[in-house]
Symmetry: C2
Subunit: 215 residues, 2 copies
Amino acid sequence: MVVKVYGGAYGSPKRVIACFIEKEIEYDVVHIDLFKGENTTPHYLNLQPFGALPVIQDGDYTLYESRAIIRYYAEKYKSQGTELLGRTVEERGLVEQWLEVEAHNFQPPLYDLVIHVLFDGKEGVIPDEKRIKEDEEKLARVLDVYEQRLSTSKYLAGDSFSLADLSHLPFGHYLVTSLGREYMIRDRKHVSRWWDDISSRPSWKKVLQLHPYVF
Amino acid sequence: MVVKVYGGAYGSPKRVIACFIEKEIEYDVVHIDLFKGENTTPHYLNLQPFGALPVIQDGDYTLYESRAIIRYYAEKYKSQGTELLGRTVEERGLVEQWLEVEAHNFQPPLYDLVIHVLFDGKEGVIPDEKRIKEDEEKLARVLDVYEQRLSTSKYLAGDSFSLADLSHLPFGHYLVTSLGREYMIRDRKHVSRWWDDISSRPSWKKVLQLHPYVF
């Protein structure tokens, strides 16, 4: 049974696809065009009632929220492909902690930057410079904590690559590409080393090659 | 070894304490006064570098982010107290999905309401009525999805109480008390039935009795 994942051209579904490649799970992408409102059709809302990406269908099992999906597959295929949840319950605790930090501290200012820098620019809206500056400052403080953590730990949750690291790839990618803010990573020695490590994994390179960003 | 949990008078640490009571885990609360900035001392930042609540210390194991902590203890003590993670990997997947929905859809507009209604009121700031209205509308749309889900499912993730339900208690409580918006629950038959069920659990009653809200 090949898993169907909806919306591979966007950021969050890439979190799921990177996990599938690491875990050697076969998948098919179902294209969704947000600009055409394909996430608000009755069919899509029946799968994902909030109209958000991604959702997966695996036989008759449907699951949404990218970080829930990656946890599910990392646990279901624990002994297949890369171990992504830690080897002990204590290691998994730290994976969970840094997954939450990614979701609540790292992603929000970055997502806001994507909206206010990339979308507003495209739509001809005058960018809200005050808000952009606040987002940059928030993100800088978060990356300062990462710099400290990564000065004593190879990866966020410990000495092995995990879901916690993987989860940073889809939005971290905007920082070093279309947002033009790679310096925020390069100015921090350990963050820079970590980013090079995780973004050069064959799984992430394959995601970028097979499923390019729509913007 | 008794687990220490920091900041029991506030919302998010109550998520952890409710889990401890369900799992029959002994704990001690370390008081933190946010209004005195006790979350920004070098000692606290050494435990939780973002200055957020809660953090736990369990021997030499330190963990932060409330939803990471509850996952850790629900897994570590799987066969003790209430089962909170589902019985199968598929059930756990749905617990994870609804935990993410709570974190990304339910909590943000509610947290914003707490800030703009309760804090602004206290501090003599004129409440931002436009923002309050937007938060209410966002939350109403989320609760409409819950109403649909709970019309066919006893609890959010299935037929058993889980972390997904528990995680709604600390901020849902504001809705029916100091925010004065209990009607948002009562106007929805199935949400109302679910809220009565989860908020009348002995664990939550004990949390409220032992660790009253500071505001």
